[in-house]
């Protein structure tokens, strides 16, 4: 991949990837660090991919692995689910800006990632399973439960299915 191709890929994928990382880890500074690391890993791996979609999926998979490593490292310090991150650089506005953000922060990181990949990125069950290191057969039921939890959290903030249905 040459520099022009990389810039093209970056322009197309950086914002969605950062949105995924921000919503998964709740910290803009950390999300930017992970974003850079994801691109660096992709470039260092020499991965070419068949097309932009293939490269995008690969990037999201790297980003998901980075998130998993981050949460794993964080776990010994606190047994709780990393929600509203109190570390320096945390952009609280990202959570407060939308009810969706705060509803998402009530979920486990894996649920957030699964929901985002499925309903924002439109990833297939197979792609989600690959990214999260899970069995494809388990995704359907896990996604269903994660969705129920998010819907419940959204409803507790006053958002109802009837209000959203146009």
């Amino acid at each position: 991949m040459d520099e022009a191709a990389f810039r093209h890929l970056y322009d197309r994928t950086a914002r969605p990837l950062r949105a995924y990382l921000v919503r998964s880890c709740g910290d803009l500074a950390l999300a930017d660090d992970l974003l850079q690391e994801a691109y660096l890993r992709m470039l260092r791996s020499g991965f070419e991919g068949e097309d932009d979609n293939h490269r995008k999926n690969y990037l999201f998979r790297i980003a998901t692995n980075l998130l998993r490593d981050h949460f794993r490292r964080k776990k010994p310090e606190s047994a709780e689910v990393p929600e509203l991150d109190g570390s320096p650089g945390h952009d609280e506005a990202i959570h407060l800006r939308s009810d969706v953000g705060s509803a998402m922060s009530e979920l486990a990181p894996r649920d957030r990632q699964m929901l985002w990949l499925a309903y924002v990125e439109g990833a297939s069950h197979q792609e989600i399973a690959k990214a999260l290191g899970l069995r494809t057969a388990s995704i359907r039921s896990m996604l269903f439960r994660a969705r129920q939890r998010l819907a419940k959290a959204l409803q507790s903030k006053g958002l109802r299915p009837e209000l959203e249905v146009s």
């Binding site: 950086a14 919503r23 998402m104 309903y119 819907a151 959204l154 959203e164 249905v165």
Partner: protein, 159 residues
């Protein structure tokens, strides 16, 4: 109203993401709690994604990322290239040691035979006594060269 997984989920998710609702699907969604919840979740996440994608904070510079990746690749290539040299150095040291150990008794006899025929009794009053001994010069040279080889090997491994 159902609260269990619904066979229309995938179609509803696609429609909710793309906004392309058929009248049948819309009618189904209105009567199925699972699909209504799904629509809520998809719409909420889409709005959230749009909001996050429009964040004012600038993205990291792709040019800097590209340069960092190039540097890392060069570093890795350098490591790969020098790995072969390090292995050759190790193999050479091991071979020399092995030959040295195998032939030590014979070599010692050869060296002592060579030196027994030399006249080492000449006097060099201006030089220290030890400087006149070829055996000592040889031993010191081997020690110095051996030390340099080991030092070189260590430095290469550290890099």
């Amino acid at each position: 109203m159902s609260t269990h997984p619904c066979p229309y989920e995938e179609a509803v998710a696609r429609a909710a993401r793309g906004g392309d609702w058929s009248p049948e699907l819309e009618a189904h969604r209105d009567g199925c709690l699972t699909c209504a919840e799904l629509t809520l979740v998809v719409a909420a996440l889409a709005a959230d994604a749009e909001e996050l994608a429009g964040l004012d904070a600038p993205l990291p510079d792709p040019g800097a990322l590209w340069l960092r990746a190039r540097l890392a690749t060069r570093e890795r290539d350098f490591q790969r290239a020098t790995r072969a040299i390090v292995w050759v150095q190790r193999a050479t040291v091991a071979a020399v040691l092995a030959v040295g150990i195998a032939f030590a008794p014979g070599l010692w006899g050869l060296v002592s035979g060579l030196f027994s025929g030399l006249d080492l009794s000449f006097s060099t009053p201006d030089l220290p006594r030890a400087a006149g001994s070829p055996l000592l010069v040889m031993i010191v040279s081997i020690l110095v060269l051996g030390g340099l080889a080991l030092w070189e090997l260590t430095i290469t491994q550290e890099n």
